[in-house]
C-alpha cells in the first residue's frame, strides 16, 4: 500500500484575487483505475461518482442504446443481490443514486451519509464488478427505455434536435439519440449488454471521484481493497464522425398545423474538446448566443425583437467533434431566422468588440468557482476534467487561459468554426416554405 496520496492543491482564481483552494488527491491502482478524492468536511455527506470512459459512441453498429441500458442494468441485479435487494439497501440508508451514459462516458452516482461509507462501497463494487443482467429486469428496462424515448418524440424540441443530428451526423453514432432509437433499442439483447460491460468496464478505462467528509487515505485503502484485483484489458476507441459540410444550407421542414409556434434548429460541425482553440471558441459562442438576455442573438431576437422566450447557440462539448447548434421557438420564424443568421454573419465577418470579450472573460472566470462550491459541483467538474483529460491543473490553467485570450484569437475562432449559410436546418411548425426567408437553400424531403 502506498504511504501517501499525491495531491494537487489548486487556487481558483478570479479577476482580482484568489478565491479558494481545492485539494484534489489523484492517484491510480496498478491496474489503471484512477482515483480522485477531494476532502470536504463541511457537511456529513459523501458524493461518489464511478465513471467508465466509454459511452454511446462505443456502442456496436445497429445497437444504439446499449450504453444507457447497460448503465441502467447495473442497479438491477448482481451476482449476490436482486434489483429489489439493491434498492432496499440503498433506499433504507437514504442514499441518492442513479446511473446513465452520455456519448463519452457511462456513470454511476451515489450520495450517502459518512456512516454508510462501507455499505456504499460494498454496493458500488458489486454493481460495477458483478452485475448479473437478469433477464426479466432486462426485458423491463428495455421496454421502459423504449417508452421513455417514444414520449420524448411527443415533444417538438426533441424531434427537431433528433432530426438535426440524423442529417448532420449521418453514418456516425451521433446521428441517433443518446439513449438509442425506436429502431435500435428492440434489437439490443442481454448478451449485448454483457459484452459491452466486459469490454469497457475494465479498470484502465475507469475512474472514481469521491468528494465529502472522508479521510482520503482511508478511502484510497477501501478502493484498493475492492478493486486492486480487477484485471485490465485493451480498449479500442471509435473513429470520429466524417462530415460533409453542405455547399449551401439544407432544410428539412416538418409541417405541424396543430402547433402555435415554430421550432427552428440549425447548425453545422463544431469542435472537439481537445481543440487548441476551445477557449476562444467558447468565448465567441457565449458572446454570440450564450445568455438569452445579453448575448447578441438574445438582444436581437428576444430583448429588442420580442420574438421568442428562448434563443441560444452553443458548441457541443464532446471528445470527438460535435456540432454547433442554434435554436429558437417562435410564432414569427421568418423574422427570428433572419436575425439569427445576421448575427452569425456579423460575428463571422467583423468579429467581437473588446468590451464584449472582456465581459465574457469576466463571466467565465467569475462564474468558474461557483460551480465548485458544492460537493455535487465538485464531483461533476472533477469527472469532466478526467473525461476530457484536461488534468487537475485545468482548474488553474482555465482562468489564466481565458484571461489571456486575445481579440484576434476569438475572431479567428469565429472565422474558423462558423460556416454561415452552410447549415443543416430543421423547422417544425405551422409554417410553409414560402413563408420562410430561405430563398437559396436545398429543401430536404
Amino acid at each position: 500500500m502506498k504511504s501517501a496520496l499525491s495531491a494537487v492543491t489548486i487556487a481558483l482564481i478570479t479577476t482580482i484575487n484568489v478565491l479558494f483552494a481545492l485539494t484534489i488527491h489523484r492517484d491510480s491502482l496498478t491496474n489503471g483505475l484512477v482515483i480522485l478524492i477531494c476532502e470536504d468536511q463541511r457537511l456529513p455527506m459523501v458524493d461518489i461518482s464511478f465513471n467508465c470512459r466509454s459511452g454511446a459512441v462505443c456502442e456496436p453498429e445497429g445497437k444504439a442504446g446499449v450504453a444507457s441500458l447497460c448503465a441502467d442494468m447495473l442497479l438491477r441485479g448482481t451476482r449476490n443481490l436482486s434489483a429489489d435487494s439493491l434498492a432496499n439497501i440503498l433506499d433504507f440508508i437514504g442514499a441518492q443514486y442513479f446511473s446513465g451514459a452520455d456519448f463519452d462516458r457511462s456513470y454511476l452516482y451515489l450520495r450517502i451519509l459518512p456512516k454508510d461509507l462501507t455499505t456504499g462501497f460494498d454496493i458500488l463494487t458489486e454493481v460495477i464488478r458483478q452485475p448479473s443482467f437478469p433477464e426479466d429486469e432486462f426485458t423491463r428496462a428495455r421496454e421502459q427505455l423504449l417508452f421513455s424515448l417514444r414520449r420524448s418524440y411527443d415533444y417538438p424540441s426533441f424531434v427537431v434536435s433528433a432530426e438535426f443530428d440524423r442529417i448532420l451526423f449521418k453514418g456516425h453514432r451521433y446521428a441517433l439519440p443518446l439513449r438509442g432509437d425506436t429502431s435500435t433499442i428492440p434489437e439490443i439483447s442481454r448478451e449485448d449488454l454483457i459484452t459491452f460491460h466486459k469490454n469497457h468496464f475494465v479498470p484502465n478505462n475507469c475512474f472514481i471521484v469521491v468528494v465529502g467528509a472522508v479521510n482520503p487515505t482511508d478511502v484510497y485503502s477501501i478502493i484498493k481493497e475492492k478493486f486492486a484485483d480487477w484485471q485490465p484489458a485493451p480498449i479500442n476507441l471509435p473513429p470520429p464522425p466524417d462530415f460533409n459540410l453542405p455547399e449551401k444550407t439544407r432544410v428539412k421542414l416538418i409541417p405541424r398545423p396543430d402547433m402555435n409556434q415554430t421550432y427552428v434548429y440549425f447548425g453545422h460541425p463544431g469542435i472537439a474538446a481537445s481543440a487548441e482553440d476551445l477557449i476562444p471558441t467558447r468565448l465567441m459562442s457565449y458572446i454570440l448566443g450564450g445568455p438569452p438576455l445579453s448575448s447578441r442573438m438574445g438582444l436581437a431576437v428576444r430583448e429588442y425583437g420580442g420574438l421568442a422566450y428562448d434563443v441560444r447557440c452553443w458548441f457541443d462539448r464532446r471528445i470527438l467533434t460535435g456540432a454547433f447548434r442554434a435554436t429558437v421557438q417562435t410564432a414569427k420564424p421568418h423574422e427570428a431566422i433572419e436575425k439569427m443568421f445576421t448575427e452569425i454573419r456579423k460575428i463571422y465577418q467583423s468579429g467581437v468588440k473588446p468590451k464584449e470579450l472582456l465581459a465574457a472573460q469576466n463571466y467565465f472566470t467569475g462564474s468558474f468557482p461557483l460551480s465548485y462550491s458544492s460537493n455535487r459541483g465538485k464531483v461533476d467538474r472533477i469527472a469532466e476534467l478526467e473525461i476530457y483529460r484536461f488534468g487537475t491543473d485545468w482548474l488553474e490553467i482555465f482562468p489564466k487561459n481565458v484571461r489571456s485570450t486575445t481579440l484576434e484569437q476569438v475572431n479567428e475562432s469565429a472565422r474558423k468554426r462558423l460556416f454561415p449559410d452552410r447549415y443543416i436546418m430543421v423547422i417544425m411548425g405551422n409554417v410553409a416554405q414560402e413563408q420562410l426567408p430561405l430563398p437559396d437553400v436545398e429543401w430536404l424531403e
Binding site: T14, I16, N17, L19, F20, R42, P44, M45, A83, D84, A87, N88, D91, F92, G94, Q96, R111, I112, L113, K115, R140, E143, Q144, F147, R150, R151, Y153, D154, Y155, P156, R256, M259, N260, Q261, P291, L293, S294, R302, E303, G306, L307, Y309, D310, Q329, A331, A359, N362, Y363, F364, T365, G366, S367, P369, L370, Y372, S373, S374, N375, R376, G377
Partner: protein
C-alpha cells in the same frame, strides 16, 4: 427531538447556529445562513406575491411583472441587470410561483454588493415604459406558447383546473392564454406598486459573509426604502369539498398515454399535513414502493409511476402519475391503484416502510445544505409559506416521529378512492371513413 435527528445534528453543526435573522424598521425580513467554506454568496429577494393573489382575467400578471422588473429602473437601462452581473461572473434569474416571486444572484463574495444595489433598485425604482412592455409582452406570449406545445404540460394545466374549482391553485402561474394576451402596462404598474416593497419581501443571504457585514449592507441599501404592509387574502378554506369523481380526457398528438389521479390533502393548518409526504413516499418513492411494485414490477401494466404531495401551504392534492403501456390498460391500472389505496386504509404500513421513508427524508435534509442556493430557497419559501424558516426543521422532527397509526389515519381520512380527480392524456383519435 427524535434520536435520528439528534444523531444528524450531532454529526453536523445544527443549522440554527448558522442562521441569523433580523428585521429592518421598514418591515424587511432578513435571514442569513453562514457558510464560509467557499467565498461565494447566494443573494435572494422574495416577494409575497404570485398566482395565489391573481384575480380572474389577470392570471399571470405576477409573472409578467417579474419579466418587466429586469428592464428599467431610475438608474439602470434594459440589459443592465444581466450585463452588470455577467461581468462579475454572477448567475442570476427570477421565477414566479404560487405563493411568491423570487430573484437570486449567486455571486463571488467580493462582488455581492453589486447584487444588493440591483435588487434595491428592483424593489423600489422600477420604471415600466410602454415601448418596453410591448416587446416583453410578446416574449411572455412566446413563453406561454411553449407550454401549449408540450402535451403533458397541457394535461397538467387542465388537471389542476379540474382539481380546484375555486382556489387559485386552479390557475397556471404563467396565466391563461387569453389573460396573457390582454395584459396591460397599467396593470403591471399597479401590481408593482401593491406588492414590491420591503414590508412584503424576504431576503435570504447564504454564504461566506459575517453577520455584521450583512446587517450593515442590507440596512445601507434597503433601510431607506418605504415599507407598506400588504394584506394578503386568505383562500385557505375556499375550496369546496370534492364530491365523487371529476375526470378529464384529452386527445393530443402523443404516442404514449399519461394518467394522473389526485386526492385532496390537508394544508399546513391540519395537524396531520406532514403525513402526506410520508404516504406519498410509501406509495411511490423507488422501486420498492407499493405502486411501483404493483403496476410496474408485478402486473407489468405501466412503465413508470411517481407519487407526490403538491401541498405547499393551503390544502392541495396528492398526485399519482402513471405511464400506462397502452390506453386499454388504464381501467385495470386504476382498479389496482384504488385497491392499493384501500389496503392503506385497512392495514397499517410496515415499520420498515416507515423507517425507509424517514431515513430518506432525514438524509435529504442534510443533502439539501450542499448548495447554498438550495438552502436559501428552503429558508425563503418556508418563511413565506408558513411564517417561519424554522418550520422545515420542525417538519423534519414531525416526520421522524410519524407512526404507522398516523399513516393509516391519514389514509382513512384523506385518501378516499371515491373522491378523486382523474386526468388522462391519449393519442389523437384516428379518423374513420
Amino acid at each position: 427531538m427524535s434520536p435520528l435527528l439528534v444523531f444528524l445534528f450531532a454529526i453536523s453543526e445544527p443549522i440554527e447556529s448558522r442562521i441569523y435573522e433580523f428585521q429592518l424598521k421598514n418591515g424587511l425580513h432578513v435571514m442569513h445562513y453562514v457558510d464560509t467554506s467557499a467565498p461565494v454568496v447566494s443573494f435572494n429577494v422574495y416577494y409575497r406575491v404570485g398566482s395565489y393573489d391573481e384575480q380572474p382575467g389577470h392570471t399571470g400578471i405576477s409573472h409578467m411583472l417579474e419579466h418587466m422588473s429586469f428592464k428599467h429602473t431610475d438608474i439602470y437601462k434594459p440589459g443592465d441587470f444581466d450585463r452588470i452581473l455577467d461581468s462579475v461572473g454572477a448567475i442570476n434569474n427570477g421565477f414566479t410561483s404560487t405563493y411568491y416571486t423570487g430573484y437570486y444572484e449567486n455571486i463571488a463574495r467580493d462582488h455581492w454588493e453589486v447584487a444588493l444595489k440591483l435588487e434595491a433598485a428592483r424593489m423600489a425604482k422600477c420604471i415600466f415604459l410602454d415601448s418596453e412592455f410591448v416587446t416583453e409582452h410578446q416574449v411572455v406570449a412566446e413563453e406561454r406558447r411553449l407550454g401549449d406545445n408540450r402535451p403533458t404540460s397541457i394535461l397538467w394545466e387542465q388537471f389542476e383546473a379540474t382539481a380546484f374549482l375555486a382556489h387559485p391553485h386552479r390557475n397556471p402561474t404563467i396565466g391563461w392564454s387569453d389573460d396573457v394576451a390582454n395584459f396591460t402596462v397599467a396593470k403591471v404598474r399597479e401590481w408593482y406598486r401593491r406588492y414590491y416593497n420591503p414590508a412584503n419581501a424576504v431576503i435570504v443571504v447564504a454564504g461566506a459573509l459575517q453577520p455584521e457585514e450583512v446587517k450593515a449592507k442590507i440596512e445601507k441599501y434597503f433601510g431607506r426604502l418605504k415599507g407598506v404592509p400588504v394584506y394578503r387574502t386568505d383562500y385557505y378554506n375556499i375550496e369546496p369539498s370534492l364530491i365523487g369523481e371529476r375526470r378529464i380526457t384529452l386527445h393530443k398528438r402523443v404516442s404514449v398515454p399519461s394518467l394522473l389521479i389526485g386526492f385532496p390533502t390537508p394544508g399546513i393548518r391540519d395537524s396531520l399535513y406532514f403525513v402526506g409526504d410520508v404516504v406519498a413516499a410509501i406509495l411511490g418513492a423507488g422501486r420498492n414502493s407499493r405502486l411501483y411494485k404493483t403496476l410496474v414490477t408485478d402486473s407489468g401494466l405501466a412503465t413508470a409511476v411517481s407519487v407526490w404531495n403538491s401541498m405547499e401551504r393551503d390544502p392541495g392534492v396528492m398526485i399519482i402519475s402513471v405511464t400506462p403501456k397502452s390506453e386499454s390498460l388504464i381501467p385495470r391500472i386504476e382498479n389496482l391503484i384504488y385497491a392499493e389505496l384501500k389496503r392503506m386504509t385497512k392495514e397499517p404500513a410496515t415499520e420498515r416502510e416507515l423507517t425507509r421513508v424517514k431515513n430518506q427524508a432525514l438524509a435529504n435534509y442534510i443533502f439539501a445544505r450542499d448548495d447554498i442556493s438550495d438552502i436559501a430557497w428552503l429558508l425563503a419559501t418556508s418563511q413565506i409559506t408558513t411564517g417561519s424558516w424554522r418550520h422545515f426543521i420542525q417538519q423534519m422532527d414531525m416526520v421522524e416521529k410519524t407512526t404507522v397509526d398516523q399513516v393509516q389515519g391519514f389514509c382513512q381520512r384523506y385518501i378516499n378512492p371515491e373522491r378523486r380527480v382523474v386526468g388522462i392524456l391519449l393519442p389523437e383519435k384516428k379518423e374513420t371513413k
